[in-house]
Amino acid sequence: MNDGDTNDRALGPIVFVLLLASFAGCSRSEPAPRADEPQGRVEQRSVVVTAVDRAEYDAALVSLHGKVVLVDCWATWCLPCLEQLPHSLKLAERHADEGFAALTLCFDDPGKTDQIGKILASKGGDSQVTHYVSQQGGSTAAMDAFEITGGALPHYKLYDRAGKLRRNFALDPTAERQFTPEDVSAAVVELIAESP
């Protein structure tokens, strides 16, 4: 990667995505459904990614009123995001029966929903979580539209049951310590515990 060969570098991310995609492909070609799983469940596991603008995103949030909602803002080029995605997906699973929903919002080319979906599938994303990609891709306009503080990913937004944005987990150069996935979980648990 450091040899300065432009072609190599340009290919790097693509190879990476293809690799992830091929892993996702492998795991899905051997679905191995559990005996207690109803048939058809396997099919639902394919990850659908929908392109949204801010208005559509807001409408989706309105439809989730009554639930605590975590939005995991990420991008395929953001390595810490890729590491932390499973954390959000597990949170969704763990708290599914407690009035909690997780969304993912990807800041990449909305024309690449297939690739994005494959990465999400490889990270454990399934039909319990709604997956979005920013209509404006990875542009400064998208960072503005979705109010990504400091333009830095990963970024999390946590909404309460009334749909009010309660926490914004963002990189802060003035902070002594940056947030961790554990901080996100703790905030989720705290909000779930609030009376509906």
């Binding site: 450091n2 432009t6 503080t149 400091g150 333009g151 830095a152 802060d172 003035t174």
Partner: protein, 204 residues
């Protein structure tokens, strides 16, 4: 312009309260970091890929200085490398200096790796390393790449993204180039602040 400044100020306050323990954080007294019109934070004796120490004061004759916080490992920073090189080359003869600074301390971003990168991409500008990360915090740099334009009086004239899209083919607005042109023409940039986009700087 006023609205923009307001927005930046609000953003600063907001981001500060975001990770505070209290839900109803009072953003009151906290001074915001660094914004357009402020004197630029000074860096002093930061080691460059040329093995020498560099300070902002060396550039006192420049008509403008572009500071880009960047690093090696980040795919967004990599996507912008050629654009940064071109920016430096295109404006060198007009008295504009470009300085790249890395404050990330992961192995792939440290000075030896920076040297390889600078050589491979033929950087003709200083690429400095601040393992203390202080200069990043002083500027309020959040991501790589994050650009700051300093005018001839060492005041901040522009802060934000280099342009409006990491995919070079989709770029419509050349924020930094437009801002430099304005400063060179003796006026204020029409757009003096944009939201950057990139990999979060790994502050420790």
């Amino acid at each position: 312009m006023k609205m923009l400044l307001c927005a930046v100020a609000l953003m600063g306050l907001f981001s500060h309260s975001t990770y505070a323990a209290e839900e109803s954080a009072s953003p009151a007294a906290e001074a915001k970091e660094f914004s357009v019109g402020d004197p630029a934070p000074e860096w002093t004796d930061l080691e460059g890929v040329d093995g020498k120490k560099h300070s902002l004061s060396e550039l006192k004759d420049a008509k403008a200085v572009v500071v880009v916080f960047t690093c090696n490992h980040c795919p967004v920073a990599q996507a912008y490398e050629d654009r940064i090189v071109a920016l430096a080359n295109d404006y060198k003869d007009k008295g504009v200096e470009l300085v790249a600074i890395n404050v990330n301390n992961m192995e792939d971003d440290k000075l030896p790796a920076m040297k390889e990168r600078a050589e491979a991409k033929d950087f003709k500008f200083d690429y400095l390393y601040d393992p203390s990360q202080e200069i990043g915090r002083s500027f309020g740099a959040t991501v790589t790449p994050h650009a700051f334009l300093i005018d001839g009086e060492h005041k901040l004239a522009y802060v934000g993204a280099i342009d409006d899209n990491m995919e070079v083919g989709k770029v419509e607005k050349q924020y930094v180039r437009d801002a430099i042109d304005a400063v060179l023409a003796g006026s204020k940039p029409e757009t003096d602040s944009t939201k950057p986009m990139g990999c979060g700087i790994q502050y420790e």
